[in-house]
Symmetry: C2
Subunit: 363 residues, 2 copies
């Protein structure tokens, strides 16, 4: 076994999920993620955790959903009981076809998800972590050769997370103390309020409230957005390529939008509900192990020298205790490159310029 697979497993179990003896751990394995699952099982045995292994296959879900009449039982008791009692859920993505569920009607997926909200909540109450095993189908989605993609993925995953967490803490502190963020770049001049909001130091560990591996971003929940933003990092939304989306905000809401490609998808997302026209997230990507776009949000939004904004739902962790932030059925991230001709200001002081942070360049 490639030593990097073992290192990945160790980061996932120890750094990300903080697994301890006696923990009840659900391991969800994608059809091509077997090797990483074996390495994770090795670590879980070593730690004295209890292991239950599930199979996460888009093809199986597709087969089930397409023949079902759509009238799904609400939160089946056996599955809810399982998640309610689990301490940790480790999900390892990695199949043979990232479009395996492409022909499942949207209404069917929504009906299925809608019938499982309590199961989802129980899962979110565990120390859950999502990662991927680098597979050929993910390499294909990234337009990369398989070995090339593996290099890329492990560069992103096998970081010095402790050092990165310390660096990211500096940005979190600035965001926590700040009142207003201004983002300036080509086609972008946007102001957002962040008073009373709390930044999350997403350092790929549940100890930091972070549930993705790789991670490497600091995010908060802005509001009262004013101005315009242009997202120049390409992406695929709902199966459709989207390019150069420009949003204009007034009084916190999108009042105009345009896109070079995929404009109708953007329109559909913004029309989902009232909250879909407001921002739910401002995130600053700080993982410089991720140096290119691979059409996979798990990696793309953490890319060093990028900033992303999400329309839709805000995360509770960023809000004052008991306060509900922006609510929406959607949370759609879009990304802009800030490596050139760009700056991020907090309360009129520049914090990042052309991708470099204040503590790096001393401005």
């Amino acid at each position: 076994m490639d030593e990097r697979v073992r290192e990945h497993a160790e980061v996932l179990v120890d750094w990300s999920a903080r697994v301890e003896a006696g923990d009840d751990v659900i391991l969800v394995v994608g059809p091509e993620a077997h090797d990483l699952a074996v390495a994770v099982a090795e670590k879980l045995g070593e730690r004295g955790a209890n292991l239950l292994t599930m199979y996460g296959s888009g093809e199986i879900t597709r087969a089930y959903l397409r023949t079902h009449d759509g009238d799904f039982d609400e939160n089946p008791d056996f599955e809810r009981a399982l998640y309610e009692r689990a301490d940790v859920v480790l999900s390892i993505g990695g199949g043979r076809n990232t479009s395996a569920m492409a022909d499942v009607p949207g209404e069917t997926r929504q009906a299925y998800d809608g019938a499982r909200t309590e199961i989802h909540e129980a899962r979110f109450d565990t120390r859950w972590v999502s990662t991927v095993h680098p597979t050929r189908s993910l390499a294909q989605q990234a337009n990369m050769a398989y070995e090339e993609y593996r290099e890329f993925a492990y560069d992103a995953i096998l970081r010095d997370w402790e050092a990165l967490a310390e660096e990211m803490a500096q940005l979190k502190d600035l965001l926590d103390d700040g009142e207003e963020v201004r983002l300036v770049a080509d086609g972008t001049d946007l102001r957002m309020r962040i008073d009373d909001r709390t930044g999350v130091n997403s350092a790929a560990s549940v100890a930091y409230g972070s549930h993705n591996l790789p991670s490497g971003e600091v995010f908060t929940a802005p509001y009262a957005t004013e101005g315009a933003v242009t997202f120049d990092v390409p992406m695929t939304l709902r199966g459709t390529p989207v390019r150069n989306v420009r949003l204009e905000f007034e009084d916190g809401e999108v009042v105009d939008y345009v896109a070079e490609q995929g404009e109708s998808v953007i329109g559909a997302i913004l029309d989902t509900d009232e909250g879909a026209r407001r921002l739910g997230e401002l995130g600053i990507g700080m993982n410089r192990g991720i140096d290119r776009y691979t059409d996979n949000i798990l990696f793309d939004e953490k890319m060093g020298d990028t900033v992303h904004l999400a329309v839709g739902r805000a995360y509770d962790a960023c809000l004052p205790e008991g306060e509900t932030g922006n609510e929406s059925a959607v949370h759609t991230d879009m990304i802009l490159d800030v490596s050139e001709d760009a700056r991020l200001e907090i309360d009129d002081k520049v914090v990042q310029r052309n991708g470099r942070f204040r503590w790096e360049d001393g401005f």
Copy 2:
């Protein structure tokens, strides 16, 4: 997808497990059993059952067991709760290496199993069915080409189960009414008591108390065994090839044993505990779709024109209500060919001669 995979799924879901709308179904998928799992998911969706998919991998279990210190938590709550609430458990075997767990120490396996008795019991309280997807590693174990093995497996699995169940019912009735069985063949002359014992018509359906697909045997729990038996069908026990085992019984217990090959494994099994020297099962294989030995007990013991006996534990279904039969930590089946120079008598009347039954040949 091969239409036989879909037919296999339909037999499993409808005939074997009798799945109905609203059933909570656990589907356990081997690493190479993906295609059958997809076909099963299709059927489960159609029936309106609830689906949770688990991954059954010997390599993952091996990795976990080999690094664990052996002090396993008793019946972890999350897994017990899952099985206690499940209605149906469908296990589809099929990996890449039938020896995947060969280097896991026996004590570790026993400690693991011993810590999970309540989980096993909860599983046995469901409508559980075990089957296999024909894989290359199973073909290899059977000394067969892959396509050849697939033919073999589907011949065994895609029977007219209703017709076979009716035929087997005739033998069950004879066993239920009988007091003594005598088995005569080359190197074999054995008498067993079966008064008050109940035969199980194992017709590959939970409706008949049968939990294997394929099945096709009638079995009961004999006692007070006298005489000698020679098992001439080769098999692998605990990783060791075993050939021509001869057991001698007095007062229901093995008093002497010899084997052409694997004698020490037989000795170890018989020495497990007191019950390991007594019979737990007499089974008559009636699935003529299985026409050869493939070193897989799921198929071998159901082979037409064979009889098998197990030393060790007896099944409750064969015993009078509330009575405990032979108890043991082991249940080891061994098989003899009865297609030639052999007869099975119940109360001194011949029921099967040279593989043919009374109702076939009218003797």
